[in-house]
Protein backbone atom coordinates (compact mmCIF):
# COMPACT_ATOMS: atom_id res chain seq x y z
CA UNK A 1 0.00 0.00 0.00
CA UNK A 2 1.32 3.41 -1.00
CA UNK A 3 -0.10 6.51 0.63
CA UNK A 4 0.78 9.89 -0.90
CA UNK A 5 -0.19 13.08 0.95
CA UNK A 6 -0.26 16.60 -0.51
CA UNK A 7 2.66 16.10 -2.87
CA UNK A 8 4.15 19.29 -4.25
CA UNK A 9 7.08 19.15 -6.64
CA UNK A 10 8.80 22.27 -7.94
CA UNK A 11 11.24 22.42 -10.87
CA UNK A 12 12.65 25.59 -12.39
CA UNK A 13 10.38 27.75 -10.19
CA UNK A 14 7.26 26.03 -11.58
CA UNK A 15 5.00 23.72 -9.59
CA UNK A 16 4.83 20.45 -11.53
CA UNK A 17 2.75 18.71 -8.85
CA UNK A 18 0.30 20.97 -6.98
CA UNK A 19 -0.84 18.97 -3.98
CA UNK A 20 -1.59 15.41 -5.07
CA UNK A 21 -2.99 12.92 -2.55
CA UNK A 22 -3.78 9.32 -3.42
CA UNK A 23 -3.51 5.74 -2.25
CA UNK A 24 -2.35 2.78 -4.31
CA UNK A 25 -3.39 -0.68 -3.14
CA UNK A 26 -1.85 -4.09 -3.83
CA UNK A 27 -3.45 -6.54 -6.31
CA UNK A 28 -4.56 -3.60 -8.43
CA UNK A 29 -3.13 -2.25 -11.67
CA UNK A 30 -3.03 1.53 -11.27
CA UNK A 31 -2.52 3.55 -14.43
CA UNK A 32 -2.06 7.30 -14.58
CA UNK A 33 -3.26 9.19 -17.67
CA UNK A 34 -3.25 12.83 -18.64
CA UNK A 35 -2.09 15.27 -21.33
CA UNK A 36 1.57 16.13 -22.04
CA UNK A 37 3.14 18.09 -19.20
CA UNK A 38 0.43 17.12 -16.71
CA UNK A 39 3.05 15.76 -14.28
CA UNK A 40 2.48 12.01 -14.80
CA UNK A 41 6.14 10.99 -14.98
CA UNK A 42 7.04 13.37 -12.14
CA UNK A 43 4.37 11.82 -9.93
CA UNK A 44 5.64 8.30 -10.60
CA UNK A 45 9.22 9.38 -9.87
CA UNK A 46 8.22 11.07 -6.62
CA UNK A 47 6.28 7.94 -5.57
CA UNK A 48 9.38 5.86 -6.32
CA UNK A 49 11.66 8.42 -4.57
CA UNK A 50 13.72 9.05 -7.69
CA UNK A 51 12.70 12.67 -7.05
CA UNK A 52 12.20 14.31 -3.67
CA UNK A 53 9.02 16.38 -3.25
CA UNK A 54 9.22 19.96 -1.99
CA UNK A 55 6.29 19.25 0.31
CA UNK A 56 4.18 16.24 1.21
CA UNK A 57 4.97 12.65 2.16
CA UNK A 58 4.99 9.23 0.56
CA UNK A 59 4.61 6.18 2.81
CA UNK A 60 4.94 2.50 1.93
CA UNK A 61 2.79 0.52 4.38
CA UNK A 62 2.80 3.42 6.80
CA UNK A 63 6.56 3.97 6.74
CA UNK A 64 7.78 7.31 5.36
CA UNK A 65 10.22 6.60 2.51
CA UNK A 66 12.00 9.96 2.78
CA UNK A 67 14.64 8.59 5.16
CA UNK A 68 14.86 4.99 3.90
CA UNK A 69 18.30 3.73 2.85
CA UNK A 70 18.81 3.38 -0.91
CA UNK A 71 19.35 -0.35 -0.76
CA UNK A 72 16.45 -1.05 1.63
CA UNK A 73 14.22 0.61 -0.92
CA UNK A 74 15.85 -1.05 -3.94
CA UNK A 75 15.18 -4.64 -2.81
CA UNK A 76 11.43 -3.98 -2.91
CA UNK A 77 10.96 -1.15 -5.44
CA UNK A 78 11.74 -1.24 -9.16
CA UNK A 79 11.29 1.45 -11.80
CA UNK A 80 11.08 1.06 -15.56
CA UNK A 81 11.87 4.29 -17.42
CA UNK A 82 11.73 5.30 -21.04
CA UNK A 83 14.44 4.62 -23.64
CA UNK A 84 17.67 3.61 -21.95
CA UNK A 85 20.93 4.22 -23.84
CA UNK A 86 24.20 2.53 -22.92
CA UNK A 87 27.42 3.84 -24.44
CA UNK A 88 29.40 0.68 -23.69
CA UNK A 89 29.26 -2.91 -24.91
CA UNK A 90 27.35 -4.73 -22.16
CA UNK A 91 25.75 -8.10 -22.80
CA UNK A 92 22.00 -8.50 -22.37
CA UNK A 93 22.62 -10.97 -19.54
CA UNK A 94 24.72 -8.39 -17.65
CA UNK A 95 22.05 -5.70 -18.06
CA UNK A 96 19.38 -8.07 -16.73
CA UNK A 97 21.66 -9.12 -13.87
CA UNK A 98 21.79 -5.49 -12.74
CA UNK A 99 18.24 -6.01 -11.50
CA UNK A 100 19.72 -8.38 -8.94
CA UNK A 101 22.45 -5.96 -7.78
CA UNK A 102 20.54 -4.76 -4.68
CA UNK A 103 20.16 -8.39 -3.59
CA UNK A 104 23.77 -9.57 -3.52
CA UNK A 105 27.08 -8.27 -2.23
CA UNK A 106 30.14 -8.71 -4.40
CA UNK A 107 29.19 -12.05 -5.97
CA UNK A 108 25.96 -13.14 -7.57
CA UNK A 109 24.45 -16.40 -6.36
CA UNK A 110 22.87 -19.25 -8.31
CA UNK A 111 19.47 -17.86 -7.21
CA UNK A 112 20.27 -14.58 -9.00
CA UNK A 113 21.35 -16.45 -12.11
CA UNK A 114 18.21 -18.61 -12.11
CA UNK A 115 16.01 -15.51 -11.77
CA UNK A 116 17.79 -13.87 -14.71
CA UNK A 117 17.21 -16.94 -16.86
CA UNK A 118 13.53 -17.01 -15.86
CA UNK A 119 12.80 -13.35 -16.61
CA UNK A 120 14.72 -13.48 -19.89
CA UNK A 121 12.62 -16.47 -20.94
CA UNK A 122 9.44 -14.72 -19.74
CA UNK A 123 10.14 -11.63 -21.88
CA UNK A 124 11.42 -13.65 -24.85
CA UNK A 125 14.93 -12.22 -24.78
CA UNK A 126 16.72 -15.43 -23.75
CA UNK A 127 17.99 -15.83 -27.32
CA UNK A 128 19.64 -12.40 -27.06
CA UNK A 129 21.41 -13.17 -23.75
CA UNK A 130 24.95 -12.93 -25.16
CA UNK A 131 24.29 -10.08 -27.61
CA UNK A 132 25.58 -6.61 -26.85
CA UNK A 133 22.80 -4.28 -25.67
CA UNK A 134 24.05 -1.58 -28.06
CA UNK A 135 23.21 -3.76 -31.09
CA UNK A 136 19.54 -4.28 -30.16
CA UNK A 137 16.51 -2.55 -31.68
CA UNK A 138 14.42 -0.15 -29.59
CA UNK A 139 11.75 -2.74 -28.92
CA UNK A 140 14.28 -5.42 -27.96
CA UNK A 141 15.98 -2.99 -25.58
CA UNK A 142 12.69 -2.18 -23.91
CA UNK A 143 11.98 -5.90 -23.37
CA UNK A 144 15.46 -6.38 -21.91
CA UNK A 145 14.76 -3.54 -19.48
CA UNK A 146 11.41 -5.11 -18.50
CA UNK A 147 13.33 -8.28 -17.73
CA UNK A 148 15.88 -6.32 -15.66
CA UNK A 149 13.22 -4.46 -13.69
CA UNK A 150 11.17 -7.58 -12.98
CA UNK A 151 14.33 -9.46 -11.94
CA UNK A 152 14.71 -6.81 -9.23
CA UNK A 153 11.32 -7.60 -7.64
CA UNK A 154 10.82 -11.18 -8.88
CA UNK A 155 10.73 -12.81 -5.45
CA UNK A 156 8.53 -11.81 -2.50
CA UNK A 157 10.35 -9.78 0.16
CA UNK A 158 9.79 -10.88 3.77
CA UNK A 159 7.63 -8.47 5.76
CA UNK A 160 6.30 -6.17 3.09
CA UNK A 161 5.04 -5.40 -0.36
CA UNK A 162 6.94 -5.09 -3.64
CA UNK A 163 6.45 -1.92 -5.67
CA UNK A 164 6.72 -1.66 -9.45
CA UNK A 165 6.65 1.72 -11.22
CA UNK A 166 6.34 2.03 -14.98
CA UNK A 167 7.09 5.32 -16.72
CA UNK A 168 5.60 5.09 -20.21
CA UNK A 169 6.69 1.47 -20.68
CA UNK A 170 5.09 0.99 -24.09
CA UNK A 171 7.32 3.38 -26.06
CA UNK A 172 9.08 1.59 -28.96
CA UNK A 173 6.88 -1.52 -28.73
CA UNK A 174 4.76 -2.76 -31.61
CA UNK A 175 1.09 -3.44 -30.87
CA UNK A 176 1.62 -7.16 -30.25
CA UNK A 177 4.31 -6.51 -27.67
CA UNK A 178 2.29 -3.66 -26.11
CA UNK A 179 -0.63 -5.98 -25.47
CA UNK A 180 1.66 -8.85 -24.46
CA UNK A 181 3.43 -6.58 -21.98
CA UNK A 182 0.19 -5.28 -20.47
CA UNK A 183 -0.99 -8.87 -19.93
CA UNK A 184 2.29 -9.68 -18.17
CA UNK A 185 2.03 -6.59 -15.97
CA UNK A 186 -1.54 -7.57 -15.04
CA UNK A 187 -0.39 -11.08 -14.17
CA UNK A 188 2.40 -9.66 -12.01
CA UNK A 189 0.01 -7.19 -10.34
CA UNK A 190 -2.31 -10.05 -9.35
CA UNK A 191 -0.09 -11.06 -6.41
CA UNK A 192 -1.23 -10.04 -2.91
CA UNK A 193 2.03 -8.25 -2.12
CA UNK A 194 2.53 -6.31 -5.35
CA UNK A 195 1.65 -2.64 -5.97
CA UNK A 196 1.93 -1.49 -9.59
CA UNK A 197 1.66 2.14 -10.67
CA UNK A 198 2.23 3.06 -14.30
CA UNK A 199 1.99 5.93 -16.75
CA UNK A 200 0.43 5.01 -20.09
CA UNK A 201 -0.08 7.46 -22.91
CA UNK A 202 -2.63 5.49 -24.91
CA UNK A 203 -6.10 6.03 -23.40
CA UNK A 204 -7.58 2.97 -25.12
CA UNK A 205 -4.89 0.64 -23.77
CA UNK A 206 -5.13 2.27 -20.35
CA UNK A 207 -8.88 1.86 -20.15
CA UNK A 208 -8.65 -1.72 -21.37
CA UNK A 209 -6.09 -2.91 -18.81
CA UNK A 210 -6.29 -0.69 -15.71
CA UNK A 211 -8.11 -1.73 -12.53
CA UNK A 212 -7.96 1.87 -11.37
CA UNK A 213 -7.27 4.98 -13.39
CA UNK A 214 -6.03 8.34 -12.24
CA UNK A 215 -6.53 11.29 -14.56
CA UNK A 216 -4.27 14.23 -13.81
CA UNK A 217 -3.97 17.64 -15.42
CA UNK A 218 -1.67 20.54 -14.59
CA UNK A 219 -0.31 18.84 -11.47
CA UNK A 220 -3.72 18.10 -9.93
CA UNK A 221 -5.93 15.01 -9.75
CA UNK A 222 -9.01 15.41 -11.96
CA UNK A 223 -10.50 11.99 -11.26
CA UNK A 224 -9.38 8.81 -9.55
CA UNK A 225 -11.28 5.54 -9.53
CA UNK A 226 -12.64 2.76 -11.74
CA UNK A 227 -12.24 3.46 -15.46
CA UNK A 228 -15.95 4.11 -16.12
CA UNK A 229 -15.89 6.93 -13.56
CA UNK A 230 -12.65 8.46 -14.86
CA UNK A 231 -12.80 8.26 -18.64
CA UNK A 232 -16.10 10.05 -19.07
CA UNK A 233 -16.87 12.19 -22.09
CA UNK A 234 -16.91 15.26 -19.86
CA UNK A 235 -13.47 14.57 -18.32
CA UNK A 236 -11.84 13.77 -21.64
CA UNK A 237 -13.21 16.87 -23.27
CA UNK A 238 -12.16 19.08 -20.35
CA UNK A 239 -8.62 17.74 -20.06
CA UNK A 240 -7.69 16.78 -23.62
CA UNK A 241 -10.02 19.10 -25.51
CA UNK A 242 -11.26 16.38 -27.89
CA UNK A 243 -14.70 14.83 -28.26
CA UNK A 244 -14.60 11.06 -27.57
CA UNK A 245 -17.05 8.47 -28.76
CA UNK A 246 -17.84 5.20 -27.00
CA UNK A 247 -18.33 2.04 -29.02
CA UNK A 248 -19.72 -1.09 -27.44
CA UNK A 249 -18.18 -4.29 -28.75
CA UNK A 250 -21.12 -6.73 -28.92
CA UNK A 251 -18.90 -9.84 -28.99
CA UNK A 252 -17.08 -9.11 -25.73
CA UNK A 253 -19.39 -6.63 -24.09
CA UNK A 254 -16.57 -4.12 -23.46
CA UNK A 255 -16.69 -0.45 -24.28
CA UNK A 256 -14.00 1.11 -26.49
CA UNK A 257 -12.97 4.71 -26.78
CA UNK A 258 -12.80 6.27 -30.23
CA UNK A 259 -11.76 9.77 -31.21
Amino acid sequence: MIDARDLVYVAGGREILRGISATFAPRTLHLIVGPNGAGKSTLVKVLARLLRPARGTVTYQGADIAAAAERTLAVRRAVLSQAIEIAFPLSVREVVMMGRYPHFGSRQTSVDETICDEVMAYFEVAALADRSYTTLSGGERQRVNFARVLAQVWLAVPGGCRYLFLDEPLTFLDIRHQIDFMHKVRAFAAADDVVVVGVVHDLSLASRFADRLMLIDDGRVVADGPREAVLTAEHIQRVFGVEPGFVRDPSSGTTHLVF
Binding site: L50, E70, V79, S81, A87, P89, L90
Partner: protein, 343 residues
Protein backbone atom coordinates in the same frame (compact mmCIF):
# COMPACT_ATOMS: atom_id res chain seq x y z
CA UNK B 1 29.80 -19.43 -13.85
CA UNK B 2 32.00 -20.28 -16.81
CA UNK B 3 31.89 -16.65 -17.92
CA UNK B 4 33.27 -15.47 -14.61
CA UNK B 5 36.16 -17.94 -14.60
CA UNK B 6 36.96 -16.86 -18.18
CA UNK B 7 37.37 -13.32 -16.79
CA UNK B 8 39.63 -14.68 -14.04
CA UNK B 9 41.81 -16.47 -16.60
CA UNK B 10 42.10 -13.27 -18.60
CA UNK B 11 43.25 -11.36 -15.51
CA UNK B 12 45.94 -13.96 -14.85
CA UNK B 13 47.11 -13.66 -18.47
CA UNK B 14 47.26 -9.86 -18.13
CA UNK B 15 49.25 -10.18 -14.91
CA UNK B 16 51.75 -12.45 -16.69
CA UNK B 17 52.02 -9.95 -19.56
CA UNK B 18 52.63 -7.13 -17.08
CA UNK B 19 55.36 -9.13 -15.29
CA UNK B 20 57.05 -9.97 -18.60
CA UNK B 21 57.10 -6.34 -19.77
CA UNK B 22 58.28 -5.23 -16.32
CA UNK B 23 61.15 -7.71 -16.52
CA UNK B 24 62.12 -6.49 -19.99
CA UNK B 25 62.11 -2.94 -18.60
CA UNK B 26 64.71 -3.71 -15.95
CA UNK B 27 66.81 -5.78 -18.33
CA UNK B 28 67.11 -3.41 -21.31
CA UNK B 29 68.07 0.26 -21.52
CA UNK B 30 71.14 2.45 -21.87
CA UNK B 31 72.96 -0.57 -20.43
CA UNK B 32 71.63 -4.14 -20.78
CA UNK B 33 71.88 -6.27 -17.68
CA UNK B 34 72.31 -10.05 -17.97
CA UNK B 35 69.72 -11.97 -15.95
CA UNK B 36 72.40 -13.27 -13.52
CA UNK B 37 73.57 -9.78 -12.68
CA UNK B 38 69.95 -8.58 -12.26
CA UNK B 39 69.37 -11.36 -9.77
CA UNK B 40 72.54 -10.80 -7.73
CA UNK B 41 72.04 -7.02 -7.60
CA UNK B 42 68.43 -7.49 -6.45
CA UNK B 43 69.59 -9.88 -3.74
CA UNK B 44 72.28 -7.47 -2.54
CA UNK B 45 69.73 -4.67 -2.45
CA UNK B 46 67.09 -6.76 -0.73
CA UNK B 47 69.61 -7.60 2.01
CA UNK B 48 70.07 -3.88 2.65
CA UNK B 49 73.56 -3.54 1.14
CA UNK B 50 74.74 -0.96 -1.38
CA UNK B 51 75.80 -2.63 -4.61
CA UNK B 52 79.62 -2.82 -4.93
CA UNK B 53 79.79 -1.92 -8.65
CA UNK B 54 78.59 1.18 -10.52
CA UNK B 55 76.46 -1.03 -12.79
CA UNK B 56 74.91 -2.63 -9.75
CA UNK B 57 74.07 0.77 -8.30
CA UNK B 58 72.59 1.96 -11.59
CA UNK B 59 70.46 -1.14 -11.50
CA UNK B 60 69.18 -0.76 -7.94
CA UNK B 61 69.03 3.05 -7.73
CA UNK B 62 67.75 3.89 -11.23
CA UNK B 63 66.55 0.94 -13.26
CA UNK B 64 64.55 -0.96 -10.66
CA UNK B 65 62.62 2.00 -9.16
CA UNK B 66 61.93 3.33 -12.64
CA UNK B 67 60.44 0.04 -13.81
CA UNK B 68 58.27 -0.18 -10.70
CA UNK B 69 57.18 3.46 -10.98
CA UNK B 70 56.18 2.81 -14.60
CA UNK B 71 54.00 -0.10 -13.52
CA UNK B 72 52.27 1.92 -10.82
CA UNK B 73 51.77 5.07 -12.92
CA UNK B 74 50.45 2.97 -15.82
CA UNK B 75 48.04 1.21 -13.49
CA UNK B 76 46.81 4.50 -12.04
CA UNK B 77 46.23 5.98 -15.52
CA UNK B 78 44.39 2.85 -16.67
CA UNK B 79 42.17 2.79 -13.59
CA UNK B 80 41.65 6.57 -13.76
CA UNK B 81 40.48 6.31 -17.38
CA UNK B 82 38.21 3.41 -16.58
CA UNK B 83 36.63 5.29 -13.64
CA UNK B 84 36.12 8.53 -15.56
CA UNK B 85 34.59 6.74 -18.55
CA UNK B 86 32.15 4.87 -16.31
CA UNK B 87 31.32 8.03 -14.35
CA UNK B 88 30.71 10.20 -17.40
CA UNK B 89 29.13 7.34 -19.35
CA UNK B 90 31.26 8.41 -22.27
CA UNK B 91 34.01 6.24 -23.76
CA UNK B 92 35.99 9.22 -25.04
CA UNK B 93 36.81 10.67 -21.62
CA UNK B 94 40.23 10.53 -20.02
CA UNK B 95 41.42 11.38 -16.49
CA UNK B 96 42.71 14.76 -17.56
CA UNK B 97 39.25 15.78 -18.69
CA UNK B 98 37.97 16.94 -15.33
CA UNK B 99 41.05 19.12 -14.91
CA UNK B 100 43.10 16.75 -12.79
CA UNK B 101 46.19 16.46 -14.98
CA UNK B 102 46.34 20.08 -16.11
CA UNK B 103 45.73 21.30 -12.55
CA UNK B 104 48.48 19.05 -11.27
CA UNK B 105 50.83 20.28 -14.00
CA UNK B 106 50.00 23.90 -13.17
CA UNK B 107 50.71 23.22 -9.50
CA UNK B 108 54.06 21.73 -10.47
CA UNK B 109 54.85 24.65 -12.77
CA UNK B 110 54.00 27.14 -10.02
CA UNK B 111 56.28 25.26 -7.69
CA UNK B 112 59.14 25.40 -10.21
CA UNK B 113 58.84 29.10 -10.94
CA UNK B 114 57.80 30.45 -7.54
CA UNK B 115 59.46 27.80 -5.39
CA UNK B 116 62.94 29.06 -6.17
CA UNK B 117 61.96 32.69 -5.55
CA UNK B 118 60.27 31.90 -2.25
CA UNK B 119 62.93 29.34 -1.20
CA UNK B 120 60.31 26.64 -0.82
CA UNK B 121 62.68 23.96 -2.01
CA UNK B 122 62.90 22.20 1.33
CA UNK B 123 61.89 18.55 1.27
CA UNK B 124 61.38 16.23 -1.65
CA UNK B 125 57.63 16.04 -0.92
CA UNK B 126 56.98 19.70 -1.84
CA UNK B 127 56.77 19.04 -5.59
CA UNK B 128 54.24 16.18 -5.44
CA UNK B 129 52.33 18.11 -2.83
CA UNK B 130 52.10 21.20 -5.08
CA UNK B 131 50.95 19.06 -8.02
CA UNK B 132 48.36 17.25 -5.89
CA UNK B 133 47.05 20.52 -4.55
CA UNK B 134 46.70 21.87 -8.10
CA UNK B 135 44.96 18.69 -9.24
CA UNK B 136 42.58 18.66 -6.28
CA UNK B 137 41.69 22.35 -6.62
CA UNK B 138 41.06 22.25 -10.38
CA UNK B 139 39.02 19.04 -10.16
CA UNK B 140 36.84 20.26 -7.33
CA UNK B 141 36.38 23.65 -9.02
CA UNK B 142 35.12 21.82 -12.11
CA UNK B 143 32.78 19.67 -10.07
CA UNK B 144 31.46 22.52 -7.92
CA UNK B 145 30.82 24.82 -10.90
CA UNK B 146 29.06 22.04 -12.77
CA UNK B 147 26.77 21.04 -9.91
CA UNK B 148 25.42 24.43 -8.77
CA UNK B 149 23.60 25.13 -12.01
CA UNK B 150 21.29 22.15 -12.10
CA UNK B 151 19.56 21.94 -8.74
CA UNK B 152 22.19 20.01 -6.84
CA UNK B 153 22.70 17.39 -9.50
CA UNK B 154 25.53 17.85 -11.94
CA UNK B 155 24.74 17.11 -15.53
CA UNK B 156 27.34 15.23 -17.53
CA UNK B 157 27.42 17.76 -20.36
CA UNK B 158 27.95 20.65 -17.98
CA UNK B 159 30.80 18.77 -16.29
CA UNK B 160 32.48 18.06 -19.62
CA UNK B 161 32.27 21.68 -20.77
CA UNK B 162 33.40 23.05 -17.42
CA UNK B 163 36.32 20.62 -17.47
CA UNK B 164 37.24 21.87 -20.92
CA UNK B 165 37.26 25.50 -19.76
CA UNK B 166 39.28 24.84 -16.61
CA UNK B 167 41.79 22.77 -18.62
CA UNK B 168 42.24 25.67 -21.03
CA UNK B 169 42.78 28.05 -18.12
CA UNK B 170 45.38 25.77 -16.50
CA UNK B 171 47.22 25.31 -19.80
CA UNK B 172 47.41 29.05 -20.43
CA UNK B 173 48.67 29.46 -16.85
CA UNK B 174 51.42 26.95 -17.60
CA UNK B 175 52.18 28.75 -20.86
CA UNK B 176 52.50 32.06 -19.03
CA UNK B 177 54.78 30.58 -16.37
CA UNK B 178 57.06 28.99 -18.95
CA UNK B 179 57.16 32.33 -20.81
CA UNK B 180 58.32 34.31 -17.76
CA UNK B 181 60.54 31.52 -16.41
CA UNK B 182 64.31 31.63 -16.67
CA UNK B 183 65.74 28.92 -18.86
CA UNK B 184 66.30 25.90 -16.56
CA UNK B 185 62.89 26.30 -15.02
CA UNK B 186 61.19 26.57 -18.40
CA UNK B 187 62.84 23.39 -19.48
CA UNK B 188 61.46 21.52 -16.53
CA UNK B 189 57.96 22.83 -17.27
CA UNK B 190 58.21 21.48 -20.82
CA UNK B 191 59.30 18.16 -19.40
CA UNK B 192 56.28 18.18 -17.08
CA UNK B 193 53.84 18.59 -19.88
CA UNK B 194 55.33 15.77 -21.95
CA UNK B 195 55.89 13.44 -19.04
CA UNK B 196 59.13 11.75 -18.14
CA UNK B 197 60.12 8.78 -16.03
CA UNK B 198 63.71 9.97 -15.62
CA UNK B 199 63.08 11.33 -12.12
CA UNK B 200 62.10 7.93 -10.73
CA UNK B 201 63.43 6.99 -7.29
CA UNK B 202 62.38 4.75 -4.42
CA UNK B 203 60.60 7.63 -2.67
CA UNK B 204 58.32 8.07 -5.71
CA UNK B 205 57.74 4.32 -5.96
CA UNK B 206 56.58 4.15 -2.34
CA UNK B 207 54.12 7.04 -2.63
CA UNK B 208 52.70 6.26 -6.09
CA UNK B 209 52.62 2.55 -5.27
CA UNK B 210 50.67 3.22 -2.10
CA UNK B 211 48.04 5.53 -3.59
CA UNK B 212 47.61 3.42 -6.74
CA UNK B 213 47.14 0.16 -4.84
CA UNK B 214 44.73 1.59 -2.28
CA UNK B 215 42.82 3.59 -4.93
CA UNK B 216 42.44 0.59 -7.23
CA UNK B 217 41.21 -1.71 -4.46
CA UNK B 218 38.75 0.96 -3.29
CA UNK B 219 37.52 1.49 -6.86
CA UNK B 220 36.92 -2.25 -7.24
CA UNK B 221 34.45 -2.15 -4.34
CA UNK B 222 32.43 0.37 -6.38
CA UNK B 223 32.40 -1.74 -9.56
CA UNK B 224 28.76 -2.86 -9.28
CA UNK B 225 27.53 0.68 -8.60
CA UNK B 226 29.51 1.97 -11.59
CA UNK B 227 27.94 -0.73 -13.77
CA UNK B 228 24.49 0.45 -12.69
CA UNK B 229 25.48 4.04 -13.46
CA UNK B 230 26.25 3.01 -17.06
CA UNK B 231 22.51 2.62 -17.74
CA UNK B 232 21.69 6.08 -16.31
CA UNK B 233 21.63 8.08 -13.10
CA UNK B 234 17.94 7.55 -12.42
CA UNK B 235 18.20 3.85 -13.17
CA UNK B 236 21.20 3.53 -10.82
CA UNK B 237 19.21 5.30 -8.10
CA UNK B 238 16.34 2.87 -8.68
CA UNK B 239 18.85 0.03 -8.28
CA UNK B 240 19.83 1.29 -4.84
CA UNK B 241 22.93 3.36 -5.69
CA UNK B 242 23.49 6.65 -3.88
CA UNK B 243 24.56 8.42 -7.07
CA UNK B 244 25.77 11.64 -5.42
CA UNK B 245 28.01 9.81 -2.99
CA UNK B 246 29.27 7.45 -5.71
CA UNK B 247 30.32 10.40 -7.89
CA UNK B 248 32.26 12.06 -5.07
CA UNK B 249 33.95 8.80 -4.05
CA UNK B 250 35.00 7.90 -7.57
CA UNK B 251 36.13 11.44 -8.41
CA UNK B 252 38.20 11.56 -5.22
CA UNK B 253 39.87 8.24 -6.02
CA UNK B 254 40.61 9.50 -9.53
CA UNK B 255 42.02 12.82 -8.30
CA UNK B 256 44.34 11.20 -5.79
CA UNK B 257 45.75 8.46 -7.99
CA UNK B 258 46.13 10.61 -11.12
CA UNK B 259 47.45 13.76 -9.40
CA UNK B 260 50.01 11.82 -7.34
CA UNK B 261 51.21 10.02 -10.46
CA UNK B 262 51.33 13.32 -12.41
CA UNK B 263 53.32 14.85 -9.54
CA UNK B 264 56.20 12.44 -10.16
CA UNK B 265 56.16 11.88 -13.91
CA UNK B 266 54.21 14.76 -15.50
CA UNK B 267 51.10 14.63 -17.67
CA UNK B 268 51.10 11.46 -19.78
CA UNK B 269 48.27 11.38 -22.28
CA UNK B 270 46.30 8.65 -24.07
CA UNK B 271 47.12 5.78 -21.72
CA UNK B 272 43.99 6.45 -19.67
CA UNK B 273 42.00 6.75 -22.87
CA UNK B 274 42.98 3.65 -24.82
CA UNK B 275 43.60 1.11 -22.05
CA UNK B 276 39.93 0.70 -20.98
CA UNK B 277 38.91 0.64 -24.69
CA UNK B 278 41.18 -2.28 -25.46
CA UNK B 279 40.09 -4.14 -22.34
CA UNK B 280 36.42 -3.66 -23.24
CA UNK B 281 37.07 -5.29 -26.61
CA UNK B 282 38.30 -8.37 -24.74
CA UNK B 283 35.36 -8.89 -22.44
CA UNK B 284 32.75 -6.11 -22.49
CA UNK B 285 32.28 -3.24 -20.10
CA UNK B 286 31.57 -5.03 -16.78
CA UNK B 287 33.54 -2.96 -14.25
CA UNK B 288 33.95 -5.96 -11.97
CA UNK B 289 36.46 -7.14 -14.59
CA UNK B 290 37.39 -3.87 -16.26
CA UNK B 291 38.95 -2.00 -13.32
CA UNK B 292 41.43 -4.76 -12.46
CA UNK B 293 42.15 -5.44 -16.14
CA UNK B 294 42.80 -1.73 -16.84
CA UNK B 295 45.23 -1.58 -13.91
CA UNK B 296 47.24 -4.57 -15.19
CA UNK B 297 47.17 -3.60 -18.86
CA UNK B 298 47.86 0.08 -18.13
CA UNK B 299 50.93 -0.98 -16.19
CA UNK B 300 52.13 -3.20 -19.05
CA UNK B 301 51.45 -0.59 -21.74
CA UNK B 302 53.19 2.31 -19.99
CA UNK B 303 56.19 0.11 -19.21
CA UNK B 304 56.41 -0.83 -22.87
CA UNK B 305 56.23 2.86 -23.82
CA UNK B 306 59.03 3.65 -21.37
CA UNK B 307 61.15 0.86 -22.82
CA UNK B 308 60.68 2.36 -26.29
CA UNK B 309 61.48 5.84 -24.93
CA UNK B 310 64.75 4.57 -23.43
CA UNK B 311 66.08 2.31 -26.18
CA UNK B 312 65.03 4.19 -29.33
CA UNK B 313 67.63 6.99 -28.96
CA UNK B 314 70.03 5.39 -26.53
CA UNK B 315 71.93 6.45 -24.60
CA UNK B 316 69.62 9.51 -24.75
CA UNK B 317 65.88 9.14 -24.13
CA UNK B 318 62.57 10.56 -25.31
CA UNK B 319 59.97 12.05 -22.99
CA UNK B 320 57.50 9.22 -22.50
CA UNK B 321 54.51 11.43 -23.39
CA UNK B 322 55.77 11.65 -26.97
CA UNK B 323 55.82 7.85 -27.25
CA UNK B 324 52.35 7.39 -25.73
CA UNK B 325 50.87 10.06 -28.02
CA UNK B 326 52.55 8.73 -31.19
CA UNK B 327 51.39 5.18 -30.40
CA UNK B 328 48.12 6.10 -28.70
CA UNK B 329 46.57 8.50 -31.20
CA UNK B 330 46.55 6.12 -34.21
CA UNK B 331 45.33 3.25 -32.04
CA UNK B 332 42.61 5.45 -30.65
CA UNK B 333 41.53 6.68 -34.09
CA UNK B 334 41.46 3.10 -35.36
CA UNK B 335 39.31 2.10 -32.37
CA UNK B 336 36.90 4.93 -33.06
CA UNK B 337 36.50 3.86 -36.68
CA UNK B 338 36.07 0.17 -35.85
CA UNK B 339 33.58 0.50 -33.01
CA UNK B 340 30.62 2.69 -33.58
CA UNK B 341 30.31 4.01 -30.07
CA UNK B 342 27.42 6.24 -29.10
CA UNK B 343 28.58 9.58 -27.80
Amino acid sequence: MSRRSAGGGLLVALAVLMAAVGLACVRFGAIDFPLREMWSSTLTFANGHVAPTLDGRIFTELRLPRALLCLFVGASLGVGGCLMQALFRNPIVEPGLVGTSSGAALGAALYFVLGNELHLTAGSWMLPFAACLGGVISTYVVFALASTRTEGRSSIVLLLLTGLAVNALCLSGIGFLSYIARDPQARSIIFWNLGTMSGANWHAVEIVGGTTTIGTLLAMTRAKALNALMIGEEEATALGVNVGRLKWTVLSINVVIVAVATAFVGAISFVGLIVPHIMRMLRGADNRFLIAASALFGAALLSLADLVARVSLRPAELPIGIVTSVVGVPVFLALLRRRRYVF
